[in-house]
């Protein structure tokens, strides 16, 4: 017999090979296509912003856990890395470095660790970081370096609005959608990623590839992203059908701004989304409706971040009311 003692522990004696760390890294992998597009579009800046966000998220987690909370340091579990990347993806590539660091501190220190760390946070840390920056530094947070124009030249220094910003502004000045549509990128450009906006929102296609990877790997289920996209499409579609001159069509809404990034990567955050599929559908429905309301009638051109955070707050309630059906509570059970 072996020298080491026999282990007596309770069943089950086998485990699937999934770990939370692997899940986190799978999300990181899924973000690679979008990251590559952002580098292509924004060049070196994209790299800098991401590097700063990631390293400060990890560093803050380390420092706070080690010296402030004096708890186990969990920087290797992949969650701080992921928060860093997601935060960067939600920022303009021209954001001053110190602001990125402040955003990271808010994300990790306030949104995550003050709640008790991974798993205990109610709000998505990256989004809390982003919204904090947006509210504190609205000017810098909405200065978007214009992306490659005509797919060839990078006009890095010029700042412009995002398609959603252009639409919002145009409508406010009484322009019609026909007039506005000449000022926003074509659908094809939006699909491939040559629009304006924050780092990770660029290419709908790259994000969809990543999202598909997550669904295939069963890291996320389709319930949140699909419900969210369908809700947005239907809701904006209704307005567009009623008055196409004053409302952008659903395709523009889906492809611009953070809807796709939000649907696949932010709203699906395991920790801050509901536990059951039913709950997920309700959650995503709520996000979709709030997003559209903000986009169409709110003060901001973009609303997905707010919408996700608002719905994050309802997750405990959703979990309470949308429980799985207990086995053995089906009313009908026919006996022949």
């Amino acid at each position: 017999m072996s020298a080491q003692p026999i282990i007596v522990s309770a069943s089950p004696h086998v485990h699937s090979d999934r770990t939370s760390k692997k899940l986190m890294y799978d999300v990181v992998i899924a973000l690679i296509p979008a990251f590559l597009v952002s580098i292509y579009v924004f060049g070196f800046n994209a790299l800098i912003v991401t590097a700063i966000a990631v390293s400060s998220c990890i560093l803050f987690e380390y420092l706070i856990q080690k010296f402030l909370l004096k708890t186990e340091v969990t920087i290797t579990d992949g969650s701080a890395l992921l928060t860093g990347i997601l935060l960067a993806f939600n920022l303009p590539s021209s954001l001053p470095i110190w602001m990125i660091i402040v955003g990271s501190l808010v994300a990790i220190g306030v949104a995550k660790l003050s709640f008790g760390g991974l798993g205990f946070n109610i709000f998505n840390p990256a989004l809390v970081g982003r919204v904090f920056l947006l509210v504190s530094f609205p000017v810098q947070m909405t200065m978007w370096p214009t992306a490659i124009e005509n797919n060839t030249t990078l006009i890095d220094a010029v700042t412009g609005a995002t398609p959603l910003g252009v639409i919002k502004e145009g409508l406010q000045f009484g322009e019609t959608m026909t007039e506005i549509s000449t000022k926003i990128p074509s659908t094809i450009n939006m699909l491939f990623g040559f629009t304006g906006g924050s780092l990770g929102e660029m290419s709908a296609l790259a994000l969809l590839i990543g999202g598909l990877y997550l669904i295939i790997r069963k890291v996320i289920s389709w319930h949140i992203p699909i419900t969210l996209l369908v809700t947005t499409a239907v809701f904006t579609g209704v307005f567009w059908l009623i008055d196409p001159e004053h409302y952008a069509n659903p395709i523009i809404h889906l492809l611009s701004g953070g809807i796709i990034l939000g649907a696949f990567f932010m709203a699906t955050d395991l920790v801050t989304s509901p536990m059951t599929k039913k709950g997920m559908i309700v959650f995503a429905l709520g996000i979709g409706i709030i997003t559209v309301l903000i986009r169409l009638f709110g003060a901001y051109p973009e609303g997905i971040s707010f919408a996700i955070l608002i719905m994050n707050a309802f997750v405990p309630l959703i979990n309470k009311y949308f429980k799985p059906r207990r086995f053995g509570t089906k009313i009908k059970s026919k006996i022949v």
Partner: protein, 442 residues
């Protein structure tokens, strides 16, 4: 689409390395340790004394009540000791220790009797014999079979379901039995149908045992009353409630029994034991045990006398391999880890699994990331992460409201949790407290 139960379930890696190894007869052990409580319910009462000579099949402990079962001498020999021995539950249990006679012959020696298809026993005698011959559920629950079969007048019963699912990874005892004793099992089914006055039965087998499905399909081609159903491979389909839901789409009510939906379920092993009891007057003194593990020299299936020390079984397959870290009585999902090999095989032992270093230790528990996987896989529609938290915090009343008692302890939740949370450990603990609180209340 193959049938299966609708909610939850997992597909653990199968590792059925012994599925092609025929059942061998295990060498008769020199000493057997026969516990008097090998079933759910009241322990049997010892009716032999030290130094008594016993014959194979002789009653050595008599049923202690209705929910209890007789225990028979598995070998011929001399009672040397009545002693407390740690059994597979990890607790000390009263055992009858018998030294086997050098010459150990008997009329029951052989499981290879000629097939006897004609059923002459009357229904009420069938039940009596099942009781007398100590038949208990061999699927692992070891519920005394006569109790399960004693059905109140007026109960609406329409289906006998035969559980040939064997969804536990590694185990192949039922699979081999179905391949080698199919004809006997069919007779056993007919015996029960006669005893229960029902004319519909379904044999449920998972689709990873195509050969067994094939055999039963062929054998029942002419029979209108016995159906064979191939099921999608999904754990824990061998659970009674899951199996009924898979085959008949009926849901056993919460806190209810299969009888409430007109069904009675028996494991194939039990059916074979019933066949032997009724047709050949043979008590339950041996069973098929899968002895397996990736590192074993000769993993195999054996006919094993009840009371055989597990050490003898492990020796039979070449001894414990280097680096063994865990020995499990049963399958990897629901089996019990045992401390050492001095534990006897009982009526409920379906397999012995020897696990090496790499699989034996559990992952370090991390924070729950609220991924909902445990909720998704729970076949009972429970919220394991919630039940675990409630147990951990001592909120047993709440846990009870959240249906902790309906957990079937399948372990699917612990199996999938990416944070390696010991969900089932806490749920079991919570259940035990809730049970105590409930009995205190009544």
């Amino acid at each position: 689409m193959l049938k299966t139960f609708p909610k939850g379930g997992i597909h653990p890696t199968e590792n059925k390395i012994t599925s092609t190894v025929g059942i061998k007869k295990m060498t008769v052990p020199k000493v057997v340790y026969v516990p008097i409580s090998q079933h759910i319910g009241i322990p049997a009462e010892i009716v032999v004394n030290i130094k008594d000579k016993v014959e194979i099949g002789q009653v050595i402990a008599k049923s202690g009540g209705f929910v209890s079962s007789n225990v028979h001498a598995p070998v011929a020999g001399t009672v040397t000791k009545l002693d407390l021995i740690i059994d597979t539950s990890g607790y000390k249990k009263q055992c009858i220790i018998i030294r086997t006679d050098a010459k150990n012959e008997s009329n029951f020696e052989d499981i290879d009797y000629p097939l006897k298809t004609e059923i002459t026993t009357e229904p009420k005698d069938i039940l009596q014999k099942i009781n007398d011959y100590g038949i208990v559920g061999l699927g692992g629950a070891t519920f005394p079979s006569h109790v399960k079969l004693s059905i109140k007048e007026g109960t609406n019963l329409d289906h006998l379901i035969i559980n040939g699912v064997e969804c536990e990874p590694y185990l192949t005892a039922d699979h081999r039995l179905m391949l080698e004793k199919a004809k006997e099992i069919i007779v056993g089914i007919k015996i029960l149908m006669k005893a229960l006055h029902i004319n519909k039965s379904i044999i449920g087998i998972e689709n990873n045992k195509k050969d067994a499905i094939e055999i039963f399909k062929k054998l029942t081609a002419e029979e209108k009353e016995i159906k064979v159903a191939a099921l999608q491979v999904k754990y824990p389909q061998g659970g009674e409630k899951q199996l009924i839901s898979a085959l008949l789409n009926r849901e056993v009510p919460k806190n209810g029994l299969p009888l409430d939906v007109g069904v009675i379920v028996h494991n194939v092993g039990t059916i074979f034991a019933i066949y032997q009891a009724i047709q050949h007057n043979k008590p339950l003194i041996e069973r098929v045990v899968t002895v397996t593990g990736k590192k074993l020299e000769n993993p195999s299936n054996y006919w094993v006398k009840i009371g055989t020390p597990i050490k003898d079984l492990v020796d039979e397959v070449g001894g414990l391999p280097e680096g063994t870290r865990k020995i499990v009585n049963g399958g990897p999902m629901m089996g019990k880890a045992i401390k050492n090999l001095d534990v006897p095989v009982t009526k409920g032992t379906s397999g012995i699994l020897v696990i090496a270093e790499d699989e034996a230790s559990r992952g370090e528990p991390k924070n729950c990331i609220r991924c909902g996987e445990c909720v998704y896989v729970c076949p009972m529609g429970l919220e394991p992460h919630l039940l675990m938290n409630l147990s951990e915090k001592g909120m047993y009343e709440k846990a009870s409201q959240e249906d902790i008692m309906t957990c079937i302890e399948c372990g699917s939740c612990s199996y999938v949790c990416p944070s390696h949370r010991p969900l089932l450990d806490y749920i079991r603990f919570g259940k035990s407290i809730v049970k105590k609180l409930n009995t205190a209340k009544n």
